[in-house]
Symmetry: D2
Subunit: 194 residues, 4 copies
C-alpha cells in the first residue's frame, strides 16, 4: 500500500539523520539544556506540536521548561536557552523570537534543515535535521502560504517534523543517561491531572 | 551513542507496525473519515499532540475536522466520526468521550495498542499500533500517575506515540490518493495566519 | 477591601464603554460577522483568551469561525473577515496578520483603545474600547516587554480586556436578536465532548 | 440597544458579587495561594479561559502556577493548591481532578455559584460567585450537552464567567498589596516572546 511506502520513506530519512549525528554537537546541546536556568521551546504548526512533545519530556526530567505561547511562560533572560524548531529556518515569528532572545543574552539552539538559514545565523548551536529537501523560493511560513506555495502534503512534506520528533526522543534518552536519572526518579513529575 | 540506539529501537517498532498493517481495515478507516460529516479527534498528553498533527493534515485535505477541547469544537452527531488515540485504550477522559459519542450515534475509530481494551470494545474499528508493550496493572492515565506508575521515559515509552504519528502520516498519503487530491488542490486550505 | 475598589474601577470603565457605543458601527459589525464566509479571530496574551471566549459564542450561533493559531484554522480569503483584538493596536504579530488578511482581500474589524493605531489604519471598521489609558512609549507587545515597560498589573491594566470581554458578550446578544435565534435553536452546536 | 441592556445586566451581577464578598474568605484564599508550593488552575470551556487569564496574572506575581492540561504541568502534591472554576460545581472532569488532588493531600479552592455542589463538598475553601441562577436538572457539563440542555446563550448565561473574571482581577489587586509588590517588581516576569 501507499501507506507502507510512505512509512519506508520516513524510516529512510530517520536513518539518514541518525547516521549523520555529530556527537560533539549533541554533548553541547545536552550541556546547554542542563545548564540553562529555564529552557524555552518554540515551533509553529506541526513543528510546534513536536516542540511541545519535547517540552513535556524535559519537564519529566526535572528541567525547567516553557513553551512559547502557553499561559504561564515568563520572560527570557541571559541564563536561559531557547530551542527553536523550524524546517526552513526562516519562519518569521520564530526569527523575531530568536532575535529578542539573543538580544537578552539567552543561548539559542536551532533545529532546522538549513544551517545557513536566518535562524541558523542567529544560533549558538545548530542541530541539522534533513527532511526539508527542496528549498522554497519563499521560505517564510506566512508569506509562503499567502502565495499558495507550501510544503508538500505527501509524506515528504513531513520528513522534517517526524525526524525531529524521533531525534528529540533520542536526545531525551541521552539526557536521562547523562543526568543519571532512572525512570523511578522521574516518574514523580508526570501530570496526574489530565 | 544512546541516541542512535534509541532511534534504532523506534525504527524497528515502526517497521513492525508497517508489516502488520491490515489493508481492509485501512480501507474501512479511509471510508469512515471521508464519509463522516465531521471528524472529531481526541488524545491526551503526547498522544494529544499526535492527534492534532493528524487533524491539521485532514483539514488540509478539506475534511471537516475538530480537535476535542479546542475553542470552536461543536456538538457531535450520528453522522460524525470520532478518532480516539490512546496507547492503553483505558484513558478515562477518552473512554467517557467515546461513550458519549457512541450514545449519540457517531462512529468510533480507536488507535491503540490494545484491541481488547475498554476503548477497543466501544469502537467500530480498531487500528492496532503496537508500542505499549507492557500492560500496566493500572491502565488509566490519571490513576496510574497518582500511584506513581507510569510508562517508561526511555524511548520504549514513546514507541506508541511516534509509531502512531508515522502511521497516520501514511494514512494521509492513502487518503490523498483515494480522494484524487493533488498537492495543488490542497494547498489552498493551509493557514496563512501564523 | 482593595478588591471592591478594583471591581468598582472595572465597572466604571465598562459603563463608559457602554455609554459611548455607536449603534451604526455595531450594525456594521454585525453585518460583517454575519455575511463573512469564515470569521477569523485573533488576540495575544489575555486578549487572546477574550478572543477565544467570543469565538466560542459565535460558533454556538452557527457562524463559521476560527481562532488564529489553533490546529484546524484554514487559509483566509476575500470573502472572510478578521476580528483583531489589541489594546494598543500595535502588537506586531497582529499587525502582520492584519496586513496579510488585507492583502488577501478579507475585511478587518479592529477592537482597540486607539483608533489611530497601526491596526486601526489597516481596518475596515474600528470598535473603540477604552481602557488602555496611558499610551506607552513603546506600544509593541514584544518590544515593550523586552525593555521592561509593560501595562500595569493593577486592575487598570486589565480594563481593556475585561471591557472587551463584556462588550463582545453584548454583541452576541445583539447577534442573537438580529439573526432571530432563540436559545432552543442554538443549543445544538454546543460541544458535548469536554 | 440590546447590547447596552446586556452590559447593564452584567454590571448588576458584578456589583452583587462585590457587595457579598466575605473578607475572611478572601484572606484565607490569599494565604492558600501564597503559601502553596505550586498552584494549579482548572476550568473548562469559557471558565477555562477565565482560569488561564488568572494563571497569567499569578505568574506575573511570581507565584508558581500551572494550568491543568497545558504541556508542562507536573504532578500535584500535598503542599500544592488546586483552584477549580465551575459555575455548577458539577463538571465531571473537574470533580475527578479535585478528587485526585484531595487524595494526594493538596488544598482545594472552589469558585462556583453553588456552595452545596459536589465540587463545593470536596473543597477546603469556597468562593461563591453568583451568576448561574437556574439550577439545571442535569448539572454535569457533558451530560447536559448530550441532552440538549445547556446554559442560556444570552448575557445571563455568561454572568458567572464574566463575574469570576472580574472577581479574580480584584484578587490579584489584593495579592499585590499583601505581597508588597509594586508594578516595577513584577514586570520582569511578563513574557517577551509572543
Amino acid at each position: 500500500m501507499i501507506l507502507n511506502e510512505a512509512i519506508d520513506e520516513i524510516v529512510d530519512n530517520i536513518k539518514g539523520v541518525s547516521s549523520e549525528i555529530d556527537s560533539e554537537r549533541i554533548e553541547e546541546m545536552l550541556d546547554m539544556l542542563i545548564n540553562a536556568n529555564n529552557v524555552f521551546i518554540i515551533g509553529l504548526g506541526r513543528s510546534g506540536l513536536v516542540a511541545r512533545a519535547f517540552a513535556m519530556r524535559l519537564m519529566h526530567l526535572g528541567i525547567s521548561v516553557y513553551v512559547v505561547g502557553e499561559t504561564i511562560t515568563p520572560a527570557i533572560y541571559a541564563d536561559d536557552c531557547l530551542l527553536a524548531i523550524s524546517g526552513s529556518g526562516e519562519t518569521s515569528f520564530i526569527i523575531s523570537t530568536a532575535k529578542i532572545s539573543k538580544k537578552r543574552g539567552a543561548k539559542i539552539i536551532a533545529v532546522t534543515s538549513y544551517e545557513d538559514s536566518t535562524l541558523g545565523g542567529l544560533s549558538d548551536l545548530i542541530m541539522p535535521i534533513k527532511g526539508r529537501t527542496k528549498i522554497d523560493t519563499e521560505k517564510d511560513y506566512i508569506k509562503r502560504q499567502i502565495n499558495g506555495r507550501h510544503q508538500p502534503l505527501s509524506p515528504l512534506g513531513t520528513l522534517f517534523e517526524v525526524s525531529t520528533f524521533i531525534f528529540l526522543e533520542g536526545v531525551i534518552a541521552e539526557l536521562m543517561h547523562k543526568m543519571g536519572k532512572t525512570e523511578e526518579d522521574l516518574k514523580a513529575r508526570h501530570t496526574v491531572l489530565e
